[in-house]
């Protein structure tokens, strides 16, 4: 029976994609947009922070790294719940009136993936640090020149970190559900739509949507692999 449902889902996915179903296109584009903004915000914070941690030696560095590594495993529903409490009308950030908006989902996803970007960027920079630092220095580089050279060398790995973070944001459900509420035409994204269809017993459609979600994730992973090979 399950194989039958999967087959049905596959057929439905092909039909949905081929027909260019307007609602599906809208949900997919919204999902991409929400996660794109999340990644922009997370990268703006995470890349400089990860680079700074990787490039500098300071007291408590190991602890800071451990905290970010631990935060990678943060459950999305827990983060969604915290954000919900902060953004709800009676919460400290309620005045922003962001609850149940795509902006709230983007902010939540950004918070979710910042630890990924920070940790991976730190590792990427540290992996290249010691000998390259000496090389740049012996060629007369200043500390700033040296840092730029190391970041340039780590750029491919940093891109990999950002793409991995995008995948995580794009495929998460808890935050989108808690602070977006899956409102049709407003905050519905692929993952919340999949959950809704599953609840409604529309397994075929759920599978079709999951296939589309995975196709996007796999495409991005493919790009990451190409980058890794080049590196």
């Amino acid at each position: 029976m399950s194989m039958g449902i999967i087959w049905e889902g596959l057929q439905q996915a092909v039909q949905l994609i081929a027909s260019g179903d307007p609602e599906l296109v809208e949900i997919t584009l919204r999902s991409l947009q929400v996660s794109f903004y999340a990644i922009l915000m997370a990268s703006a914070v995470g890349v400089p922070l990860g680079a700074a941690i990787g490039l500098r030696e300071f007291r408590g560095k190991r602890l800071v790294k451990t905290i970010f590594t631990t935060l990678i495993g943060m459950p999305t529903v827990a983060l969604g719940l915290i954000l919900y409490l902060l953004l709800s009308r009676s919460g400290p950030l309620g005045f922003l009136q962001l609850l149940y908006t795509v902006q709230a989902i983007s902010i939540g996803q950004a918070l979710l993936v910042i630890p990924i970007i920070v940790s991976f960027t730190t590792s990427a920079v540290e992996a290249r640090d010691v000998r390259l630092r000496d090389l740049a220095r012996t060629l007369g580089a200043s500390e700033l020149d040296t840092s730029i050279a190391i970041l340039r060398e780590a750029s491919n790995a940093i891109v990999v970190a950002v793409v991995a973070a995008f995948n995580r944001a794009f495929a998460e459900l808890g935050i989108a559900l808690m602070v977006g509420l899956n409102i049709r035409g407003l905050t519905r994204v692929l993952t919340t739509h999949i959950a809704l269809q599953h609840e409604a017993g529309e397994l075929g459609l759920s599978i079709a949507l999951s296939i589309i979600l995975m196709a996007i994730v796999f495409t991005l992973n493919g790009l990451v692999n190409v980058l890794r090979r080049e590196e």
Binding site: D134, T138, L139, S142
Partner: protein, 237 residues
């Protein structure tokens, strides 16, 4: 003759590990060899002379001025070190060789012209656009030397520059070092006694982080005064 380097009771430790202890000697203008077993402290000494590290104790003077944390960078602008294991930025040969010039503010065209000239002197014409990290060991060593020489440093520090190289590559590198030695100071750490004899005029022998013997290269190689130096030269432990 005024010394280029003056070392006064220089020690270097890493935690409990003492890499160098009580080094006191001067290096004047003559090409200098740093000799010693693996682990004797040769690379550490070169790193101190290159301004990549500072002594844990004692003092180094470069052309009369004390080397401190504050003036390390100005020292590194005139002293360049070639590492034993060649390392490159993930870029082309030309980009690697022009790096030091570009950060000194030399224009792109001028930097490329000077880099091409230096590459040619090391018989590396046509290598400009190749990935430096994908060249053979000998070619990489020559590119690394070009990258150092294009900066026209006052001092060139070479850590085992001909280790694991075939004779042809070793000869090219030897010739270029000899040419450089006419205008700048070369300090070379190597186990290749043939190169030591040909390229240097003065030598210092280190053992377990301490200076055992210094002197003119020929004297030190042919008539070592210390039994430990003799054993080293005869390949004995």
């Amino acid at each position: 003759m005024r010394s280029i380097y003056e070392l006064d009771d220089v020690s270097k430790s890493y935690g409990k590990l003492v890499a160098l202890e009580g080094l006191t000697f001067n290096i004047e203008g003559a090409p200098t060899a740093v000799l010693g077993y693996s682990g004797a402290g040769k690379t550490t000494l070169l790193r101190l002379l290159a301004g990549l590290e500072t002594p844990s104790a004692g003092m180094i003077r470069f052309k009369g001025a004390k080397v401190t944390e504050k003036n390390l960078r100005s020292l590194r602008r005139v002293v360049t070190m070639l590492f034993q294991d060649t390392l490159f930025f993930n870029q082309s040969v030309l980009e690697n060789v022009t790096y030091g010039l570009r950060i000194r503010g030399v224009g792109k065209e001028e930097a490329a012209r000077r880099a091409r000239e230096t590459l040619a002197s090391l018989r590396l014409e046509g290598f400009e656009n190749r990935k430096a990290a994908k060249l053979s060991g000998g070619e990489q060593q020559r590119v690394a030397l070009a990258r150092a020489l294009v900066l026209e440093p006052e001092v060139l520090l070479l850590d085992e520059p001909t280790a694991n190289l075939d004779p042809a590559n070793a000869t090219v590198i030897g010739e270029v070092i000899q040419e450089f030695a006419k205008k700048g100071l070369v300090i070379i750490s190597t186990h290749d006694f043939l190169h030591v004899r040909r390229l240097t005029k003065w030598a210092v022998y280190l053992e377990k982080g301490r200076v055992v013997e210094t002197g003119e290269t020929r004297d030190l190689l042919d008539n070592p005064k210390d039994e430990r130096t003799r054993r080293f030269l005869n390949g004995l432990f």
